[in-house]
Amino acid sequence: MNDVVLGLEAVRKIYPGTPPVHALDGVDLEIRRGELVAVVGPSGSGKSTLLHIMGTLDRATDGKVTVAGYDVSDLGDRKLSALRAHKIGFVFQQFFLLAGESALDNVADGLLYTGMALGKRRELATEALDRVGLADRRHHLATKLSGGERQRVAIARAVVGRPDIVLADEPTGNLDSRSGADIVALIEELNREGTTIAVITHDREIADAFPRQVHLRDGKIEATTRPRP
């Protein structure tokens, strides 16, 4: 059985301009089911670009990207939407919850594409909020929650559809160290429960706590620290 959830082969990303920016310059990477990976590197090294390409939000200039066995470049827009909705969960530094909605409905939005009835979506959303420890806040407006709580809601939204992989770009970047540590603990817990997760982080301490680190520099993978087999 092929347990590679996400694969990059010779991926390059060039942003046009004068001069063009080679944000990624030949990246090969495989992430296997159940892994917890930290992507680290200096500012401008291409981390966000890498995560966006892994999450299909950006297109590689060339190279091959596969997610859950699908070659991303082959997908039409329906399949691409379905892949994003079912296979990939995304967590952003600035949360990006919908301001006018409750925590519960924000999480339920994560299932909108499934076509499930609202009742069923809310039921699953409640479960997901429970997983992140926010079941009692589910009726609060997203805007009324603290930063750490908002990020928990965003994580619940990312995992509610049981995606094959969760991608997080600096999920603790907008949080104080205490809530940041809570989010890291939550990520580790979700991983123990079986979720595959890749996290971009500036924080050495966070990265060192993860079993595998991918070091980016100038758009290239400089080193990979792997767990002992």
Partner: protein, 261 residues
């Protein structure tokens, strides 16, 4: 008509002169702009006056008037396009057809119900009122929508990441931009008669039309303007927000923070 003359216009310039003096005294740095704007308005209006004299005196005045209105629609489209400042899919076609459509409805209502007799002058005037109000609204809508999409870049990506398509993204993003562009128009409508005496009515009153007739015509103009403005805003906003997502379901380059234009 009597004692219409340049001395009166020159006298009205005295207020502008006062403003220029004030601007100079307060070092606002906009004296030049005020003078230029005043001069420009004079030049444009004079030119229009000359053209109108030719049009209305011509034997095929109606044809020329119709051409004039068409020309205004084209200019309106170009202005909106230029204010957006970047080529967006469908924007030109959508703007042109919306302005044209709204103008057609306005003309049809005004002349179809015989509110005003159809002639070259009234055609140009009613067309001008509609198009003239469509442009600032469309421009404001365009501005709000582009700002919203750029500021909301991350939000758009977050929605895309959930598997949302362009239609759903428009549903989430467009209302805010549309609302903030429509509000000034609604506010203006609310204070009509209390603070602002609208242009059509003042003109009619000055020309000696009975107040009630002036009110009817003003109401008609106002509703047409409100409808035109709102329609243009909604259509432009939706078109722009739609253009924030590419056909292959990514955030368009122009909404990205690193985008270079």
């Amino acid at each position: 008509m009597h004692t219409l003359g340049w001395p009166a216009v020159l006298a009205s310039l005295s207020l502008v002169g006062l403003v220029v003096a004030l601007a100079w005294w307060l070092r606002l740095g906009i004296e030049r702009e005020i003078v230029l704007a005043a001069a420009r308005a004079a030049a444009q209006l004079l030119a229009v006056g000359i053209v109108f004299t030719a049009i209305f005196g011509s034997s095929s005045a109606m044809l020329w008037a119709a051409l004039w209105v068409t020309g205004m629609v084209i200019v309106a489209t170009v202005v909106v396009r230029r204010r957006v400042g970047m080529p967006l899919p469908h924007l030109t076609a959508v703007t042109a057809s919306t302005v044209a459509g709204a103008t057609a409805v306005s003309l049809a209502v005004t002349f179809g119900f015989g509110v005003i007799d159809l002639d070259a002058v009234s055609l140009v005037v009613v067309g001008g009122i509609t198009v003239g109000n469509a442009v600032p609204s469309a421009v404001l809508g365009a501005k709000q929508a582009t700002v919203l999409c750029r500021d909301g870049w991350g939000q758009i990506e977050a929605l895309l990441a959930l598997g949302f398509g362009p239609g759903q993204i428009v549903r989430f993003m467009a209302p805010r931009a549309a609302r903030s562009a429509i509000v000034p128009q609604v506010e203006r409508t609310k204070v009509v008669g209390l603070i602002a005496l609208p242009g059509a009515m003042t003109g009619l009153l000055l020309a000696g039309v009975a107040p009630v007739d002036a009110v009817i015509i003003q109401l008609l103009v106002m509703y047409l303007v409100l409808g035109t403005a709102t329609l243009c805003i909604v259509v432009v906003v939706v078109t722009i927000v739609r253009a924030a997502v590419t056909v292959d379901l990514r955030a368009a380059d122009w909404v990205r923070p690193g985008a270079r234009t």
